[in-house]
Each structure stands twice: as structure tokens, then as C-alpha cells.
Amino acid sequence: MMSRVSRHRQPGATLVLVMLTLLIFLGMTMSMFFESRSVSIQTSGIKLSRMHNMAALSAIQREKVEIGSYWQDDTRFSDLLGQAWPESADGYGKLFASGSVTMNAGAMDLVYNVYVKNNADDLAVIMSGMQGYGKTYDQWVDTDGWIIMTAEIFNSYDTSSPVAVQSAIIAPTGEETVEHAELSVTEQNMDRQGTGSIDSFDSQLDLGKFQ
């Protein structure tokens, strides 16, 4: 049998070349896809976390205005803290209000619990058990006019574990010091007149209670 260059045309070689080329292109495409996807996931994770925290601060803002009716000039927030509301298992205080909040243009349904608790440096907390004019001090007696509000945020489909928890010190002036980023609070009406904007916040010493 004589040797020859080729008895038939060999289309397989072309196929291999084409397949190889496709494979390389596919590999490059996929690697770019996965890289951009991982960046995108990272970004959206941060955004989601921010939204949850914003929701928590918004819940505090929303419920804060409701505590005004419990204020009394002589006993401060003692009436509020003394209510027989259920207590948080995590020690955030008594359940003041629950509600729902929608974020991300309706795509995210969240529910919240807002708790009230005395601040740790209230003398009534330190002096728990002691007597003061027929009143026994305990952690639910307010002697300084400051309390802590804590909001737990849950996804509406899973209320077993919170996705964000934020706390704020609330004083009768309406001023508050928020434990974490205040940026989101400024989205709500920080000037408490319904005219707040995202870039401003009111730092006046506002001595009118619960305006």
C-alpha cells in the first residue's frame, strides 16, 4: 500500500481548531462573567445591609413621636417604661410597637419591633432595689429623662432572626444620638417639621418637648 498525503479530506482538524477557539472564548467570557458577578454580589450585599439598617433607624424615627404621650414632667418616662408590655428575650426592653416598612420601591417587605429600655447610666438602674419616697427604684424607673429605643428588623417571610438591630438614645428634646450611621436618619424628617431633606439635619438645642 502506498503512502499518500491524504486519502480523504480531514474535516476533524478544522473542527478541533474551531472547538478550541470557541472553548478559549467561552472560558474568557465565563471568567469575566464570574468576576463581575462576584463584584456585583458583594456590592448588593452591602446595599442590602444598608437598607436593613436604614429601615431600623426609620422605625425608631417613626415610633419616636409616639412616646410623647407617655411623658410626664415629674416622673419623666417612668410611665412608659412601667407598662406591662412583653419583654424582649434579647434584653432590648419592653415591646413598644410593631409595624411594617417597605424598602426598595416595594420589592422588600420588612417588619419591625421597637423596644424601649432605660439607659444604663440612669441612677434608677444603678440603684435598683433602693427606696426613694415610697418608690422602689428599678430599671423601669426613669430619673434622667433619657431612654434607649431599639428596633429589630425582620424579613416579613422570616421573623425568627432579625436582619438588623439599631439603637438610639431618645431624650425629650427630640434630639437623639444614634448608635450607628446617622445618614439614613436624615432621610426621615430630621427637623421634625416634615420638611427634612437627605442632606440636612437639625442640631439645634430644641427645648420644646416632642415637637
Binding site: 486519502r7 419623666r76 434584653g91 433602693m130 430619673t143
Partner: protein, 426 residues
């Protein structure tokens, strides 16, 4: 007989080889080009990502600034770091969330220092940061030592709270009077009244007082019953003058300690507390956390290496590299007061009340913008800086393959500083 099949001629083979080489060459060139563009793009992305990391860090740090003590920011808090904790040539007088803001004259890059504690505001199941009643160990004492410096003290509180005290805890000791003094908190309409810090009763006037101090517990004694009128509570003696190698805060306040009158409440005061509001004459010691809960963060650009590198220094740890080949790092602080005022003479009317991240009273580069001394400026930053405007520009450390230039990225973002004006207690 079957016709003899022709193979490819040499000419055909040569021609096809030439065509293949040309086609393959084209393909290879395209690949190389695509590869270069892709690698250039990832170089640019790297610069972007490094800077994005910076902004995430900055947002967290600025939003935490002053955490643990900024609800008490009417106080002039005195402190002193132990030698070797951080290299510091010019110790600012008071303790604030923003502790330094300066510009390096040679490189033009900024330095900013932010500090905060992991203060547990809500407390969770059991607070890890309780507050105690503070007393001098000498029961007959009616005043602090002449320089306001003491080496030990009694802390009084609930048994479980006392049980949480240990060596390394950092205490903020303050008198309740400052935050409820009626003459201090007047309506802001009275613009010609001194701002809270500058009211004489709480430390202002010609001689500012230290109305609070930060000390670190260096020894804890045994638990005993509280002294009258707190006999139902527990008491412990703590020391501040036996530092260990890890200690952060020194009790040597350079003859400049707590400069308030020492008082201790009587049984009558305690009984009156509920009806008459918080006690003015009680000193508190707030546990702000332990050594691990204190964060002093400094951002600065190191220009000594091959490339200017933005570093984040945390406490006395080794620096964290944020971004390399920085061409510009600019931090402007937004104030609620106009320049030209020294801290001790700020009036209520000087504070514009509404602080905007877009239009504060001034975006300040450094103390020269305020026409004050550097030390005065640090006090102003601590009290009045409400926002930060950060611009960072960086280039890749290698040349791009396509354009033979460096990838350049520049970002600007504004942050709210977690700073609050003093609020009275009722």
C-alpha cells in the same frame, strides 16, 4: 482500475500553510489585544476596588466616631495615652470623636484621626458596659486633690455590674451636674449666650475646666457592701496607677485632672432623686469597654516608599494598606460655625444650627482656614465638625499595556460625622 487519487501538491500545501499562518497570526493578535484590554481593565478595577474599600472603612469609622461618649459631649474630657500606645507629638487637650485633622505641608495629603469605643448602648440580655457611682476612697473627702489626680476610687453598683469590672476596663468619670445645669441649656434663640461648653459653671470661661476624665482600671479589689446611702449595693476599690504593658490610658494627667468640686450624695438626695429629677452632685463612672473595645483610627499617606500609600493605623497595631500610589488624599471637615472664633468664645448664635452635608458653614482644610492655633482647631473639630468630604485619587502601580500610561481613578464622597450637640437631662 480506480483513478489514482491526487494528494495535495506542494504548492497547495505551501499556500494553505501561508494562509493558516496569516489567519492564526490574526487570531493570535486579536487574542493578545483582548488579553491586554482585559488586563488593563482589571488594573483599573483594582484601583477602584481599593478605593471602594476605603470608603466603606471611612463610612464605618465616621459613623462610629465618638461612640460611647458623644452623648456626653458637653463635657471637656481630659485624658492621657500611655507612652508607646500611639506616637503622638502634640497631645490634644480634650477627647473627641475626631481627634486630629491636619495636612502634610510637604506632600499635601491629609491626616485624620477618629476614635470610638464599642459601647453597648442597648445592653442586650445583660449590659456589658454598665455605669457605676463613683466615690473617692477617703469617705471624708470634700474635694479632689489639688491637681484633680487620684490613684484609686470606689465604684458602687449592682452586684452583677460590679462583677463585670476587671483590669483593663476603661472608665469615663463625670459629674452629673454638667448635663442638667439649668443655666447651661438655654433656648438657642439667645444667641448671645455662650455655647454649652463655654458656660462657666460647666468648665467654660477664661479657664476651661476638665469636667470628665478617662482612666483605665489597673487593679480591682474585693467586693464589699456599698457605703451609705448605697448600703444595699456592692462596692469595689479600683486602682489606676499600676499599668501593664498593654495599658492604653495613663492616670498621670500632667497635673491637669478632674477640676470639678467633689461631692457625694446623701440619703436625702437619693430619696429626692425620683421626684426632683436626676442628682446633680453624683459622680458616675461609665464603663466604655475594655482595651479591646477602644479604637483609635488614623488615616494618613506614607510617602517614604516607592509609591505613596494610604494607610489605616488602628491603635498600636501594624498599619493596614488601603491603597497604593495615591496622588491625592484630601479630607475636608464641614463645620457648623464660621472661622475666626476661638473655642472658648463660641456663642450659641455662632452655631448655625442646621448642618448640611452640602453646605456647611465652611469646608475646612486645616487650622489655617480657621485662623486659630492647631490646638484650638482640634477642639473646634471635636465639637463642631459635623461632616467630612473625602477625595482620593490613585493610579495603578504598573503601566497599562495598551496606552502605556497608569490607570487613574478619582473618587469623592461625603460622610456624616457621628457628632451630636449636647442635650440636657431632665
Amino acid at each position: 482500475m480506480a483513478a489514482r487519487r491526487q494528494g495535495f501538491s506542494l504548492t497547495e500545501l505551501m499556500a494553505s500553510l501561508v494562509i493558516s499562518v496569516a489567519v492564526l497570526g490574526g487570531v493570535m493578535f486579536s487574542f493578545q489585544r483582548i488579553n491586554q484590554v482585559s488586563r488593563d481593565a482589571s488594573r483599573g478595577t483594582d484601583v477602584t476596588m481599593a478605593n471602594r474599600g476605603l470608603y466603606i472603612q471611612l463610612e464605618a469609622d465616621f459613623s462610629n466616631a465618638g461612640l460611647g461618649f458623644n452623648d456626653l459631649n458637653a463635657y471637656n474630657i481630659r485624658y492621657n495615652f500611655r507612652d508607646g500606645f500611639v506616637a503622638e507629638t502634640n497631645l490634644p487637650r480634650y477627647f473627641y470623636g475626631i481627634a486630629d485633622h491636619d495636612i502634610d505641608a510637604a506632600s499635601g495629603h491629609h491626616t485624620v484621626v477618629v476614635q470610638y469605643f464599642d459601647y453597648d448602648l442597648a445592653g442586650g440580655s445583660q449590659t456589658t458596659t454598665p455605669t457605676y457611682i463613683f466615690a473617692l476612697t477617703d469617705e471624708t473627702a470634700t474635694s479632689f486633690p489639688a491637681d484633680g489626680v487620684f490613684t484609686d476610687a470606689n465604684l458602687i453598683g449592682q452586684e452583677d455590674a460590679i462583677g463585670q469590672l476587671e483590669v483593663g476596663d476603661i472608665l469615663l468619670i463625670y459629674k452629673n451636674e454638667v448635663r442638667q445645669n439649668a443655666t447651661v441649656y438655654k433656648d438657642t434663640d439667645e444667641g448671645n449666650q455662650p455655647a454649652v461648653w463655654n458656660v462657666f459653671e460647666v468648665g467654660g470661661g477664661s479657664e476651661p475646666k476638665n469636667t470628665a476624665i478617662i482612666l483605665e482600671v489597673t487593679a480591682v479589689g474585693g467586693v464589699e457592701d456599698g457605703r451609705d446611702p448605697f448600703s444595699t449595693l456592692k462596692m469595689v476599690t479600683v486602682n489606676f496607677d499600676n499599668p501593664t504593658a498593654e495599658s492604653i490610658f495613663d492616670n498621670d494627667l500632667q497635673a491637669d485632672g478632674l477640676l470639678m468640686d467633689y461631692t457625694f450624695p446623701s440619703a436625702g438626695d437619693v430619696q429626692n432623686n425620683y421626684n426632683n429629677g436626676p442628682l446633680a452632685n453624683v459622680f458616675y463612672a461609665r464603663k466604655m469597654g475594655n482595651r479591646d473595645n477602644f479604637h483609635r483610627v488614623r488615616y494618613s499617606v506614607d510617602t517614604t516608599g516607592t509609591f505613596p500609600t494610604l494607610l489605616r493605623f488602628h491603635n498600636a497595631d501594624g498599619p493596614e494598606v488601603i491603597s497604593t500610589n495615591i496622588t491625592d488624599f484630601q479630607v475636608l471637615m464641614g463645620f457648623d460655625i464660621q472661622p475666626g472664633i476661638v473655642p472658648d468664645s463660641v456663642m450659641r448664635g455662632d452655631m448655625d444650627g442646621l448642618v448640611s452635608m452640602i453646605e456647611p458653614a465652611i469646608w475646612s482644610e486645616d487650622f489655617n482656614d480657621f485662623q486659630t492655633s492647631y490646638e484650638d482647631y482640634l477642639t473646634l473639630v471635636g465639637r463642631h465638625a459635623m461632616a467630612a468630604d473625602v477625595t482620593v485619587s490613585a493610579e495603578s502601580t504598573t503601566m497599562l499595556l495598551t496606552t502605556k500610561e497608569r490607570a487613574k481613578r478619582s473618587f469623592q464622597q461625603r460622610f456624616r460625622v457621628n457628632n451630636n450637640l449636647p442635650t440636657p437631662f431632665y
